[in-house]
């Protein structure tokens, strides 16, 4: 067991796979000597050399195009898009090319690649460097979407993503980079499409993702003190989606609350609401409630950003109000 930060876990997860498989290569801006702007790739250039860890120009279309072309010819690239907001400058390569080409070619091509990116707010970077883009990706057929909430999961899900033969959008919550936890030594490999029940309750089910997971957990503790006993589920991957766990845990309590960092419209919580209200309708005891950032761009000022993103307090208030009404 060693205390590991979330950012160190990124490098450890990648290194674990690079040691095993020569076809795993890295590409991105400032990922080499600089170790990444978020220090998620520290040590990898030193261990694997510039042939496998390559810095690029500021050319996101070239980065992802290169990853795609390399994947279709036998490599397993791990590409970095520095901030998730920058997906917007290379979105075509992601959604029209990488996501669709296997299907369009009737399975002639596979794209075993991972695109890592710093996701979400909380760092006062303003509207162009703070977006949660998990739903942009979830919306596109042909992409897998992984969003770990802690260092241990980072390693296991990174390994699973690199080993996966499909394109994976791997989102690293910027607000969690400096979070720490004890992580066992040795290789860790997890499974995509498995949600985790982090807390078992009887009254309501809170389903959260990424940076919202620790907040949901903390809110559940506070709600318990108020007499509301919550189940907390960490979604971990939006595609594949562990609907079994989510439906089971929702049916068990009869109430679903989603905790989403994204601005409201078309967030993953809406998708969950539609699945639950179709498939577990008769198990529901009350309204499905979504706790999200309002449908606004994220402001830069700390005070404003803190008001925008769901806080523990807002989760507690929303759940208790709804449960008591």
């Amino acid at each position: 067991m060693a205390q590991l930060t979330f950012r160190e876990a990124i490098a450890r997860g990648i290194a674990q796979e690079m040691r095993l498989d020569e076809s795993v290569v890295m590409i991105g801006e400032d990922i080499g000597a600089a170790g990444g702007v978020f220090k998620g790739t520290v040590g990898l250039l030193e261990e694997f050399g510039p042939r496998r860890v390559r810095d690029t120009p500021i050319s996101e279309q070239a980065i992802l195009g290169a990853a795609m072309g390399a994947a279709m010819t036998g490599l397993r690239p791990v590409a970095e898009i520095m901030f998730a907001d920058f997906f917007a400058v290379c979105w075509d390569i992601v959604v029209n090319e990488i996501a669709k080409s296997r299907y369009m070619t009737n399975g002639q091509m596979t794209f075993p690649l991972v695109i890592r990116s710093g996701n979400g707010g909380g760092l006062r970077f303003g509207a162009q460097h703070s977006q949660s883009v998990e739903n942009w990706a979830m919306m596109i057929p042909g992409l897998k979407v992984v969003v770990p909430s802690n260092a241990r999961d980072v390693i296991g899900l990174m390994a699973a993503s690199i080993r996966d033969n499909d394109p994976v959008i791997f989102l690293e919550e910027k607000a969690l980079y400096s979070s720490k936890m004890d992580v066992p030594e040795g290789d860790i490999v997890d499974t995509l499409g498995t949600a985790k029940v982090l807390r078992q309750g009887t009254d309501a089910t809170l389903v959260a993702l990424g940076n919202m997971v620790p907040r949901a957990l903390q809110a559940a503790e506070e709600l318990a003190e108020m007499g509301i006993d919550c189940t907390v589920v960490d979604v971990r991957s939006l595609v594949p989606l562990d609907t079994k766990t989510i439906l089971r845990e929702t049916s068990a309590t009869g109430r679903l609350f989603t905790v989403e960092e994204n601005p409201r419209l078309c967030g993953w919580g809406g998708e969950l609401a539609s699945i639950v209200s179709e498939e577990a309708f008769y198990d529901l005891d009350g309204p499905i409630v979504r706790i999200t950032t309002p449908h606004i761009p994220l402001p830069a000022a700390d005070a404003l950003e803190d008001m925008a993103i769901p806080s523990i307090e807002r989760i507690v208030t929303t759940v208790s109000k709804s449960m008591n009404s």
Binding site: V25, R51, R54, T56, P57, S59, E60, Q61, A62, L64, G65, A66, A67, M68, G69, A70, A71, M72, T73, G74, L75, P77, D92, I93, N96, E97, S101, R102, Y103, M104, T105, N106, G107, Q108, M109, T110, F111, P112, P141, G142, D164, N165, D166, G193, V239, P240, L241, D242, T243, K244
Partner: protein, 335 residues
């Protein structure tokens, strides 16, 4: 297979007959595709390379089977030139299960990995960076494969063009970029919206590359320049960009009659049709006319057979619809 074989071949009559056959095949195939479009058997859209055949044929002749082609929506010619049989290509246009991608891709996305045809891309510019990726993979793995990437004159004004060219130059990637300059975008003349006269060649220096222009209606000239660039790439000399001047005989897509183009311009280029030109050249080299007629006839038979086989293909069903989104062969996004 070594490059010297090809170099020798270029002076060889059999090699030239092969180039002739290739061009004739592309021509006859696409004429048939057009007929089938008019019969409403080709649904959706289709973009023909009629008049531009010398480029696809010349490049294919300079490539090894292990090399890679990246094409656009105007990709029938590039696909066939690499040796993909006519039947699956035609069947793909018809949306049948015996199509190259069982109907799932359609005319704009022809792909045959087994022939090194690494996809046809319908978003302008997208495949230039993707071709870089294949070239990177060859470089990384130490194979001597080369990626050849075709695109149009109008495509030189999109961002991905710029990113790919710079990236390829900096990484010294084994990729050859081929701009088929047929003067027109869809219905707009490219020079009207482009800051330079030669949209690719005049920009080569922006990436530290040599400016190379070739007569795209002369298969021999194309072959020579292709071979030089491919050999350079194969030997670690990095990327090249070639601008091939040509013209499309027909419209941009579907049944577009191409009326926006001046009559005299069309006439001038029809007179430069690469196929009659090559035909004449072969006669001048002493090839008997009967030999050429024989080739044309053989191609016609091939087209006929492909048409029959394609039409006989089955209509795809639900099994195909839900297949191969993922590498496991399925399309499940949930458990």
């Amino acid at each position: 297979m070594s490059t010297t074989v090809n170099v020798a071949a270029s002076t060889d009559i059999d090699f030239k007959l092969g180039l002739y056959r290739s061009q004739v095949a592309l021509r006859q195939f696409e004429k048939r595709a057009y007929d089938l479009f008019l019969e409403n058997l080709v649904k959706g859209t289709s973009h023909l390379s009629l008049g531009q055949e010398a480029i696809a044929s010349g490049f294919a002749a300079a490539m090894r089977p292990t090399d890679w082609t990246f094409a656009t929506y105007r990709g029938h010619a590039h696909t066939l030139a690499r040796g993909v049989p006519m039947t699956p290509v035609l069947a793909e246009l018809l949306g049948r299960t015996n199509g190259l991608m069982a109907g799932k891709g359609g005319s704009m996305h022809l792909t045959s990995v087994e022939h090194g045809v690494m996809g046809s891309y319908a978003i302008i510019g997208a495949h230039l960076p993707i071709a870089c990726g294949a070239a990177w993979s060859a470089q990384y793995r130490g194979t001597d494969q080369v990626a050849v990437c075709f695109f149009g004159d109008g495509s030189t004004n999109i961002g991905a063009f710029h990113e790919a060219l710079n990236f390829a130059a900096v990484w010294k990637l084994p990729v050859v970029f081929v701009c088929e300059n047929n003067l027109w975008m869809e219905y707009t003349r490219t020079t009207e919206v482009t800051a330079v006269a030669n949209p690719a060649a005049d920009r080569a220096s922006a990436y530290g590359l040599e400016s190379i222009i070739v007569d795209g209606n002369d298969a021999d000239a194309v072959y020579e320049v292709a071979l030089a660039a491919i050999t350079k790439a194969r030997e670690g000399g990095g990327p090249s960009m070639i601008e091939a001047k040509t013209y499309r005989h027909g419209g941009h897509s579907r049944a577009d009659p191409g009326k926006y183009r001046p009559d005299d311009e069309v006439a001038e280029w029809l007179a430069k049709d690469p196929i009659p030109r090559y035909h004449t050249r072969l006669l001048e080299l002493g090839v008997p006319e009967t030999k050429l007629v024989e080739i044309e006839k053989a191609v016609a038979d091939e087209v006929e057979l492909a048409t029959e086989e394609a039409k006989a293909g089955a209509i795809p069903g639900e099994d195909l619809l839900m297949k191969d989104v993922w590498a496991d062969g399925g399309s499940a996004w949930r458990n």
